[in-house]
């Protein structure tokens, strides 16, 4: 069930979203929405409990300034499995969810047994959401059943936790592969059992491979989600991750979601940005909209 994808026109359509002019009220709204959709992320070997705690505080209260109506929290904090407990302790009851990468993130080059244990442990430690990586090696060598079977097993291992399936599109290279992997991931997740809206996401990248999220790649994935919705009525979520650093980029993505899937998808249950530096740029723009001038970058806390 390969879908033909033509790169030239995908790029043309993706570029057209960036010429939408988002001003005044719609900018103010769009920026707040963008903030509420962020998965604030730290995925470094040097991550420490203290670093994760400060990230969590930032997630709950992105900015300490006085603003009406109050700014939303971000959607989730995304960490490695070993730091899930730390994050859970701070975030419990805050409404901000704990997401954990798992399945031998970012390469996934571990025995399936280890990858599944990785998931189970993260869930047991309190992860609300699991960001898994697909087996790109198997995918590129055409072993689609193997890829699908592994995704299905990971979903089963998630229990009640939501699942985000990272395709690592930078390694799949072609848009046809992106579409094929999107369809395959969605079908595989669905093969385990019914999917509630937003229970399963497809996600572009780990952030460890370049290029990470791009607009053409995201558009192709959104179209896969749209086609699946029209076929089944089930809403799959979307998470572009990596490389989205500015508020302006975030607004372009929101325009793309709006014009491809509709406003229904613009909420944290169905759309996320995987990003770290995006938060402060969004905050800076929000404050600029209020005061008419840009504040210094050091006026916003690091996470």
């Amino acid at each position: 069930m390969r879908h033909a994808i033509d790169t030239v026109m995908v790029e043309q359509r993706a570029a057209s979203f960036t010429t939408r002019s988002i001003k005044t009220k719609s900018k103010q709204q769009g920026l707040r929405l963008a903030l509420s959709l962020i998965d604030l992320t730290t995925l470094e070997g040097k991550d420490s409990p203290e670093k994760v705690r400060s990230l969590c505080r930032k997630a709950i209260t992105p900015w300490e300034g006085d603003i009406e109506p109050p700014l939303p929290s971000v959607a989730a904090v995304c960490v490695y499995p070993s730091l899930v407990k730390v994050a859970k302790r701070v975030l419990d009851g805050s409404g901000v969810r704990v997401a954990s990468v798992a399945t031998g993130f970012p390469s996934g080059q571990y025995p399936l047994k280890v990858r599944l244990e990785d998931v189970v442990e993260a869930v047991n430690d309190g992860a609300d959401e699991i960001d898994m990586v697909i087996n790109r090696g198997a995918f590129l060598s055409g072993c689609f059943d193997e890829v699908a079977d592994e995704i299905a097993q990971v979903r089963s291992a998630c229990g009640g936790a939501h699942l985000k399936i990272i395709l690592e599109t930078g390694e799949l290279e072609t848009l046809e592969n992106v579409r094929l992997a999107s369809d395959l991931a969605i079908q595989a997740a669905a093969s385990v059992g019914p999917i509630a809206d937003g229970e399963v996401f497809i996600k572009t990248s780990t952030g460890k491979v370049s290029p990470a999220a791009t607009m053409p790649v995201t558009l192709v994935m959104l179209e896969a989600i749209r086609d699946y919705y029209e076929e089944t009525g089930v809403r799959i979520g979307m998470k572009p991750a990596g490389g989205i650093k500015t508020a302006k980029q975030a607004l372009h993505y929101l325009v793309m979601v709006k014009e491809t899937l509709g406003n229904d998808w613009i909420n944290p249950h169905l759309f996320r940005f995987g990003a770290s530096s995006l938060t402060n740029d969004v905050l800076r723009q929000i404050v600029k909209q209020l005061t008419g001038h840009y504040t210094a970058t050091y006026d916003f806390s690091e996470a």
Partner: protein, 488 residues
């Protein structure tokens, strides 16, 4: 379950983002003859309006016979000096013009949109950049004509009368002027009645860059002005872009006079989608093929041929995509379809839509929201159940109206596509490379786009077959109509 009809949880929409209208427009726009703006001897003026508001923007001079004569005389007397100038020197002027257009791009884009009704995002991102590109491109050829026509000693044709349409006012001016000037000709340009303002502003650019007096003359007016110009005995060449009807008249008029002629006329271009195509992207191609510039495009993909098995899917996806198009204030940066160029053209489009319904085709009109009370508007629409004999499948509508038909085999697609008096452009959509070449070479069209549509570039020749005209504009081929070839 369709996305187009679902209700929205969050009402996030784009706020109005209008571009400025604060540009100065002369109230009386004179003729540009011999390097100066002069009042018409005819003493006649006519109004030009903004089709999005129906408000008058300015008065435009209507050149009479005497005015046409003085413009042709100015071009004739400027010819000897200009044509003897070295190619390198002529190129310098063209480069200066191109750069000055880039510097004044925003002003040109806004004026083009106010006077013609096209969305600002198109005049800003397509028209004006292409105008500059055209002058840059032909500046490059000016000193290389000997290489374009090796051993043939190219010399200028002489005085060129250039008559252009209202759909891409400044772009068509550049398509005509840039190659003519590069080859050492002098010109009289006649813009369309409803869209004279940007051409006259281009005259300001000519003054700014010090283009010698009389090398380009711009005379505004109505149909008669164009006729006087084409008839004038001192004119050596007529270049026309517009309707096939007028093209035929011009051909009769110039026959036997020794005048060279090029015609870029109408079209009813076929856009062919095979079942193996990338459908989502093909739908993008349909949209840019027929709804670009409100369908006021001579090469618009106004006949869509879809392979039978995917008809339903294409219609569904097209309908959904049309619901995201924004029709309205052309100056708003988020507008996708602006105003129809004139009241007259709106009437024509509406007449064709009624005719399509009357002949039994099914109309699918998209409701894109409330349209402004004033102005000339037409929501994008398409017809299904169209038969090749229907008027809407044969005649050029020049509006956002698409006729969808089906085919079963490649041979049938080709013969249906070629079953038209026109032969300007065509589009082929398939994932199979071999099929692209096979089909493209059998299509009787001057331009064939493969897996894309309405892509323009100064380096690429443009022009048609059959009743779509003859002669090419753009590319090296675009030089040919403006040179005389001889032996050495």
């Amino acid at each position: 379950m369709t996305i187009a009809t679902q209700t929205n949880a969050t009402e996030w929409d784009y706020s109005p983002a209008p571009d400025t209208t604060k540009i100065t427009i002369e109230q009386k726009n004179k003729l540009f003859i011999g390097g100066k703006f002069v009042s018409p001897k005819s003493r006649s003026w006519f109004p030009t309006i903004n089709p999005a508001t129906e408000k008058k923007l300015a008065d435009i001079a209507c050149a009479g016979k005497v005015d046409v004569h003085s413009a042709v005389s100015a071009a004739k007397s400027a010819l000897p000096k200009w044509s003897r100038l070295s190619g390198t020197e002529r190129a310098k002027y063209l480069y200066r013009i191109a750069r000055r257009i880039q510097e004044r791009a925003r002003e040109f884009a806004i004026l083009e949109t106010m006077d013609g009704g096209k969305p600002i995002k198109e005049s800003r991102d397509v028209d004006i950049p292409l105008v500059a590109q055209h002058f840059f491109y032909y500046a490059g050829w000016a000193d290389k004509l000997a290489y374009a026509f090796p051993g043939a000693a190219p010399t200028p044709v002489g005085v060129c009368a250039q008559i252009i349409p209202w759909n891409f006012p400044l772009l068509m001016a550049s398509w005509k002027l840039a190659p003519a000037l590069a080859c050492g000709n002098t010109c009289i340009l006649k813009p369309a009645e409803t869209t004279s303002l940007t051409a006259l502003r281009l005259a300001e650019v000519f003054q700014e860059v010090g283009l010698p007096d009389g090398v380009v003359n711009i005379i505004t007016g109505k149909g008669d002005t164009g006729r006087f110009l084409a008839e004038h005995p001192a004119v050596n060449k007529v270049a026309f872009t517009g309707s096939t009807e007028v093209g035929k008249l011009l051909m009769r008029q110039t026959a036997g006079t020794g005048k060279k002629l090029t015609l870029e006329l109408g079209g009813k271009s076929a856009n062919i989608i095979f079942a193996d195509a990338a459908i989502d992207q093909a739908v993008e191609g349909i949209v840019s093929g027929i709804y670009f510039n409100q369908g006021h495009v001579c090469c618009a993909g106004s006949r869509l041929f879809v392979e039978e098995p995917i008809l339903e899917e294409v219609i569904h996806k097209l309908t959904r995509r049309l619901s995201t198009l924004r029709v309205g204030d052309p100056l708003d940066k988020n507008t996708d379809l602006g105003a129809v160029n004139s009241k007259e053209q709106l009437k024509t489009v509406e007449r064709y839509i009624r005719c399509g319904v009357a002949e039994g085709a099914e109309l699918h009109q998209t409701n894109t929201g409330e349209l402004p009370a004033k102005g000339y508007w037409c929501n994008p629409c398409f017809f299904t159940d169209v038969q090749p004999s229907h008027t809407i499948a044969r005649e050029e509508i020049f509006g956002p109206v698409l006729s969808i038909m089906t085919f079963r085999t490649p041979e049938e697609a080709i013969s249906r596509a070629n079953n038209s008096p026109y032969g300007l452009a065509a589009g082929v959509w398939t994932d199979k490379g071999a099929k692209i070449f096979e089909v493209a070479k059998k299509l009787d069209a001057g331009i064939v786009w493969c897996n894309t549509y309405n892509k323009f570039d100064a380096a690429s020749p443009f022009g048609g077959f059959k009743e779509s005209g003859f002669g090419r504009e753009g590319g090296m081929q675009g030089l040919r109509p403006y040179v005389r070839l001889g032996g050495v």
